[in-house]
């Protein structure tokens, strides 16, 4: 049976998100384990971190007591040489994947025939919502 043709924007969105998530997953699989093996090369020492989490400490208390204070959500930029900075990079890649995928699908909506200007704009609008949240403008 002949299967229906899948629209290009769907393929583009799916591929970008899928591969970025896999990259994030590999980083997040290696980062914490290496962080446990070399516990001194971390912002948050895993021995104390997991003890504090399992004690039920609030996140700000965990950061304060184990890491000397929260360095900001994008701390990975200045701490890529630490294992939790590296792990945070993985999280950031995954959490931004929809932004890049929506940009890609927006371009695909403009390249397909007939061009779907409305859907390209809607995809761009949602991508902008992700970006605004990631830079910290959208806060609840």
């Amino acid at each position: 049976m002949e299967e229906p043709k899948i629209p290009l924007p769907q393929i583009v969105y799916g591929k970008i998100v899928y591969w970025l998530c896999l990259i994030a997953a590999f980083i997040c699989a290696i980062g914490p384990v290496m962080g446990m093996a070399f516990s001194d090369n971390n912002l948050l020492n895993p021995h104390y971190l997991f003890f504090a989490i399992w004690e039920g400490s609030k996140p700000e208390v965990v950061w304060q007591e184990v890491g000397g204070g929260f360095p900001g959500g994008h701390f990975w930029m200045h701490n890529l040489n630490t294992w939790d900075g590296f792990t945070q990079l993985g999280l950031v890649i995954g959490c931004s994947s929809a932004f890049l995928a929506l940009l890609g699908s927006s371009i695909a909506y403009l390249r397909q025939k007939p061009r779907a200007y409305g859907w390209a704009l809607i995809a761009l609008f949602v991508a902008a919502m992700v970006l605004v949240a990631a830079v910290g403008i959208y806060r609840v």
Binding site: P4, A25, Y48, W63
Partner: protein, 367 residues
């Protein structure tokens, strides 16, 4: 063997091998490692995190199959059975919900089961509603206190219970709903789609109707999601299926894609506030990715009736949690203990298993 060298099995196998080897290495290292005073031993840390990975994997398989998002299972389980702080749980819960949705997007969109336009369209309403809901939560907390929260929780529990009964009574009608009329706005949106249904070996063409009502309802779902700080896949699937007349499997797949997009927006305030602790959240993420790939393959091939049965089970369990929490908050009953939740969960799992093996004939799917 050849199958293992093709996508997605190649990346899935590689990921599982990386995780397994990492933990074997860690187990060997932990034997001679010293535990600093006041800290947790490396052996315990390794066991705990590997347990998290396995649990996350199982949650992802179920969540992706039903399109509910992993957070709906993760958050109540962690809050009920671990001493971990609720803000840490909610932040990590969003990571769990988001990655099960994101990783399944690829296979769903490639197979045609997922509808990207539908997901993007609904994500506007979902994002808007979640923002209003979060503001509402602050208002209710300030103005009405725990009584208001108790009433909302109780009413939500009754709504969820009604939905599960509708799916139970509605039977196969909800598996393959038919859009009788398509309005001008629906036509303008151009949401119709077709895909190859593996379980039936035929191409399914469907139309989407009542798009405006659907968007309005999704705003309401977003409000609930933002209000309670939990995923809302359990509500998105019924809205897409019952309001917009989308086939149940398409609704489950598109709901996953929508959750992926929506939670990419709502997770950032948690990350920027430090509520997502990288080493803790990362292992949950890996489990979601690995389990999500498996779950998406299962959803593509299984019958729609099976998805409905599992969805009914999840809705029943969610409604039980909401009603009991609501009654507890209002002071009508004392707090329900963990073993009671486990007993109810086991009873529901048994019921679902019986249904899937054909013991409940009314739940069998037609078509």
């Amino acid at each position: 063997m050849k199958k293992l060298l093709k996508s997605p099995w190649l990346e899935l196998t590689t990921l599982c091998v990386v995780v397994t080897l990492s933990y074997i290495a860690l187990a060997l290292i932990s034997k001679g490692a010293e535990t600093p005073p006041g800290g947790m031993s490396l052996n315990n840390v390794a066991l705990l995190t590997f347990g998290f990975f396995l649990l996350s994997f199982a949650i992802a398989v179920i969540a992706v199959m039903t399109g509910i998002g992993g957070g709906v299972l993760f958050t109540p389980l962690m809050l009920a059975f671990t001493p971990i702080d609720s803000l840490t749980v909610r932040g990590t819960g969003l990571i769990v919900a988001m990655f099960s949705g994101l990783i399944s997007s690829g296979p769903f969109l490639k197979s045609g089961l997922g509808n990207l336009k539908l997901a993007i369209y609904c994500s506007i309403g979902y994002g808007l509603g979640a923002f209003i809901g979060a503001q509402g939560a602050i208002f209710v907390s300030d103005q009405l206190g725990s009584t208001g929260e108790g009433f909302v929780r109780l009413s939500l529990g009754i709504i969820v219970l009604s939905l599960s009964l509708y799916f139970f009574r509605g039977g196969a009608k909800s598996d393959w709903p038919q859009a009788k009329q398509v309005g001008r706005f629906d036509k303008w949106l151009n949401l119709p789609h077709q895909y190859y249904e593996e379980s039936l070996d035929k191409v399914i063409t469907y139309r989407v109707t009542r798009a405006a009502w659907g968007l309005l309802t999704i705003v309401g779902v977003g409000v609930i999601s933002g209000f309670y700080g939990m995923g809302a896949g359990w509500a998105i699937v019924p809205v897409m299926n019952l309001v917009m007349a989308t086939p149940l499997k398409v609704a489950a797949a598109s709901s996953g894609i929508l959750i992926g997009i929506g939670d990419c927006i709502s997770v950032w305030p948690y990350i920027l506030a430090g509520a997502v602790i990288p080493s803790f959240a990362a292992l949950w993420l890996v489990g979601q990715v690995a389990g999500g790939i498996i779950g998406s393959r299962i959803l593509i091939t299984i019958k729609a009736g099976s998805v409905r049965v599992i969805l009914i089970g999840i809705l029943l369990f969610s409604s039980f949690g909401l009603v009991t929490k609501g009654l507890t908050t209002l002071g009508y009953i004392s707090e329900v203990r963990g073993p009671v939740y486990i007993a109810v969960l086991l009873a529901i799992v048994a019921g679902v298993a019986l249904s899937l093996t054909g013991k409940f004939p009314k739940l069998k799917s037609g078509r």
